[in-house]
């Protein structure tokens, strides 16, 4: 009797342990270069649940697949989508700054960029554009949405983004600070940052990190 109970307990704990491992650890993933292969192995040695509270291996996997997936969807859109590097959706402002990268369309010939807080319609003062560098838009206010219009010689792009309320930003800051304290390599840390943003729907920030990783800038 006692033996049976012991076996049951053992089986249950092993099962729970396996499930726990699946939820928290990402096994080595498919890679598309020696660099990503090494990164995948390094990542598999980490424990998502312990590294950042509340994070799961599922988010790491989603981010990993997004990192490797560079193919264009194609299809027919209603409007020309905003260029890569321009903020849309929910955006995490580092300090009070949001990067606005126009380099993807710089060769079209930049004409103007206007960013205005929703409701006020008042255009923000933007810094001088330096070729090849993202503009840093300052004094972004929590809880505010911004609309922007970028005009090039060939196309007019528009989009909007939203800076969440201060408490949400603070929660994100907490997670990022927690990650900083783990002493991970810069690439693994970047994947973790992307996963944190992925889980909280900050896809612009996630994509910025993934773009940097693809370009080898991280």
């Amino acid at each position: 009797m006692k033996k049976n109970i012991a076996m049951t307990v053992l089986a249950l704990t092993t099962g729970v342990g396996l499930v726990h491992a699946e939820e928290c650890q990402l096994p080595p993933q498919q890679a598309n270069s020696p660099r990503t292969e090494a990164l995948s192995k390094e990542l598999s040695k980490t424990n998502a649940c312990k590294t950042v509270k509340g994070l799961s291996a599922k988010s790491l996997k989603t981010v990993w697949l997004a990192l490797l997936d560079t193919k264009s969807t194609g299809g027919k859109r209603f409007e020309t989508p905003p260029p890569a590097g321009t903020p849309t959706g929910k955006v995490f402002a580092l300090g009070d700054k949001v990067p606005f990268d126009v380099s993807a369309v710089a060769q079209e010939g930049l004409v103007s960029l206007t960013v205005a807080a929703e409701g006020t319609g008042k255009a923000l003062k933007l810094p001088q554009y330096v070729a090849g560098q993202a503009l840093l838009i300052e004094k972004m206010q929590p809880g505010t949405s911004y609309n922007w219009v970028l005009v090039t010689r060939k196309e007019t792009y528009r989009g909007s983004f939203e800076i969440p309320e201060a408490d949400e930003l603070q929660e994100m800051n907490g997670k990022l600070t927690e990650l900083d304290a783990q002493g991970l390599s810069s690439d693994v840390k970047a994947i973790y940052q992307a996963a944190i943003f992925e889980e909280a729907d900050y896809y612009f920030n996630r994509d910025m990190i993934l773009a940097s990783l693809r370009n080898g800038k991280k």
């Binding site: 989603t62 697949l65 997004a66 997936d69 193919k71 264009s72 969807t73 194609g74 299809g75 027919k76 859109r77 209603f78 409007e79 020309t80 989508p81 905003p82 260029p83 890569a84 849309t88 959706g89 929910k90 993807a104 369309v105 060769q107 079209e108 010939g109 004409v111 219009v149 005009v151 010689r153 060939k154 196309e155 007019t156 792009y157 528009r158 989009g159 909007s160 983004f161 729907d201 896809y203």
Partner: protein
Amino acid sequence: MTYTVLTLKKRGSISLPTKMILRCSIGIIALSLLSPANSGEDQSKTDPQVKQENAEVQPASEKPSLFKSIGNFFSGGAKSKENEAKADTSSSASAASASSTATSTASSSAFSIIDIDTWSSVSNVVLDPVCKQPIQPFGITDNLTSLGILAAKLKLKSFTDSLTKNGQQPVAVKDIVKLAARNLNWMPMEFEKQIGEGRVPQEDVLDENKNKEIKAVYAKSRAILADILKSIPENNPYDFKILVVKTSFTNAVALPGGIILVDRDLFKKGMPEEYPYFVIAHEVSHVLQRHQTRAYQAQLADGIDSIDNFRKLISDTSHANPTAVLGYASALKSMVVNYSEQQELQADSCAIRLMKARYPDQKIIQEKISKVEQRLGPIVPEIPDDSKDPALLKQLHFLGDGVMERHPNTRKRKENFQVTIKAIYTS
């Protein structure tokens, strides 16, 4: 004759294997007529029937030609529709700037035939700017009938002579074949669906049960889609499906076969309800017009320089995997397929046509469309396009997968809205 076989088959009643057999057998017969030896020669010397037919053909401007007669025979009662379509097209061509030079005629009762009777040097598609035909032909018999008609035309020297390059020398048969390859919907529907499924960005699709917000976007999008689909025949071959994606561009994307990717913020706070409705109707129109598929077809067609090549292409696509064919298409990326803008205008027009069932009153639709107009980008001064700039072309490739994706500016879209409303609501 080949044509008798075609008339016996109705759309939607043929199984896939039968379709394939039909495709091969009829296609081979039709394409054999397209051989260079046949196309340029006067067949009347060897074929008494053709001799008799040729006698009835000339001059084309005065009498109905043989190929016109064949076209009318197959299109059945489409003649009156064709005349109506021509009248409509001429009234609105300037605003919609349709640069296509071929004429599309269709019959919804039996066959939908694309009658190719003019020549174009670029990959323009047959575009009806006010969208008289919201659903492009998709039946294999439709396409092969169209091809058969073209083959018959090519047997007549007068046809090739009548098509001239810039008013000079007659057009080569290979160019006419290219034209056919661009304009006919020869890519099988099953293939089209496979392409669509393969292009879904799986990692960006949001789970319907992620949260209340996403669930609501799915529900609202599906409700709109269901409403729009009420105005098209139920026996269409498309499997329309909504997928909500992570992007926040207040946009939507149509993939071949009927998949519509909706941005998560399409119904964001403050968005007028007319906007998502119009956006989804626009995307449904892209699917029904097979725009993306035709873009692939055009890319493939640009690589064709012989009838054999085209024959091979048709037979290959009926059983090849999409990746291989798309690989071939992407090898032709450098060739500019710049008809995207016209397709967008047409999709806008088709969207208005689809909305007519819901808003039969012209005043109401004007109000709805004005709400959509307010969401479009600002009208900015137009700067002359220097489309030969290779750096620019390279930059634009990120927007699509090699197909040049250009959207008309706000001024053109607004003008097209008004022309379309006038054409649809006053006809």
